[in-house]
């Protein structure tokens, strides 16, 4: 059942972050950075792609998936364009997400009021 798999695996992938929050004083950005770099490593090793085929959104939605996308983009770009793909692949793979989040954040800043107290 794909929905149950996504729920259980996605939830489980968030638990290490919570342990880090509770047991260390790591900043959120450090935790997210760790997740992405680990995602690049697992994606590059070919592990995460197969895992994502099984877990669906449970693997794509956590930030490991972002790292996997970067690694996948690099691999595909090198396969099709050669060495230049080392530089073009990562951001090409992640382009839609980064651009959408960037543009929308500017839009939100114009629409919504600050909630900082």
């Amino acid at each position: 059942m794909r929905f149950l798999r996504a729920f259980l695996i996605g939830g489980a992938l968030c638990v290490p972050a919570q342990i880090l929050i509770d047991k260390t004083k790591l900043m959120n950005s450090r935790i997210l950075t760790g997740y992405v770099v680990l995602g690049v490593i697992l994606g590059g090793a070919g592990i995460y792609g197969a895992f994502a085929d099984f877990a669906g959104s449970g693997a794509y939605v956590p930030l490991f998936g972002f790292g996997n996308t970067l690694a996948k983009g690099v691999k595909e770009a090198i396969d099709s364009d050669g060495a230049i793909g080392i530089l073009t692949g990562g951001l090409t793979g992640a382009a839609a997400g980064i651009t959408a989040a960037t543009f929308l954040s500017v839009l939100w800043s114009l629409i919504f009021k600050s909630r900082q107290k």
């Binding site: 919570q18 342990i19 950005s29 669906g56 989040a101």
Partner: protein, 144 residues
């Protein structure tokens, strides 16, 4: 009461970090966000998207929803409950960007919003792309 006894007393009164409960909440929250993603994927696939394209549409939809939830203050409530479960999904990344952008709007669109937009997301992109370059070098020379 000497110092040592006082130390023990303080320790006994200290609120113990409810790590098990926090982890459970993170699990439920992260799982629910991923479940929402899978439901969206199912929806997009039913509407004709290929299984390969659907994950990207899902991520873009979650980024959009996360921004709206951030703007109306609802994502803060999710994050308070879910902790790591609200941080790790792509919605946490989008929330960090949307919140940084909105909170600094008063300092101006360029010096406030644009400068601070990547305050939390920036390191993720910096180290993510750097790691991908290192992987690319390895793959180019030793892989494939």
């Amino acid at each position: 009461m000497d110092n040592k006894q006082y130390g023990e007393y303080v320790k006994s009164r200290e609120k113990r970090s409810p790590i098990v409960k926090n982890c459970f909440n993170a699990f439920i929250t992260g799982g629910t966000i991923c479940l929402a993603g899978e439901l969206l994927a199912f929806g997009y696939e039913s509407a004709g998207a290929s299984a390969e394209d659907a994950p990207l549409y899902v991520l873009l939809t979650l980024i959009l929803l996360s921004g709206v939830f951030t703007g109306i203050g609802f994502y803060d409530k999710i994050a308070k409950f879910g902790g790591g479960g609200a941080l790790v999904p792509i919605t946490g990344f989008a929330n960090a960007m949307a919140a940084s952008a909105t909170e600094s709007r008063t300092e101006g669109l360029v010096n406030g919003t644009a400068v601070n937009l990547y305050r939390i997301a920036g390191p993720v992109i910096v180290f993510g792309t750097s790691a991908s370059v290192i992987y690319g070098v390895i793959y180019y020379f030793f892989g494939g």
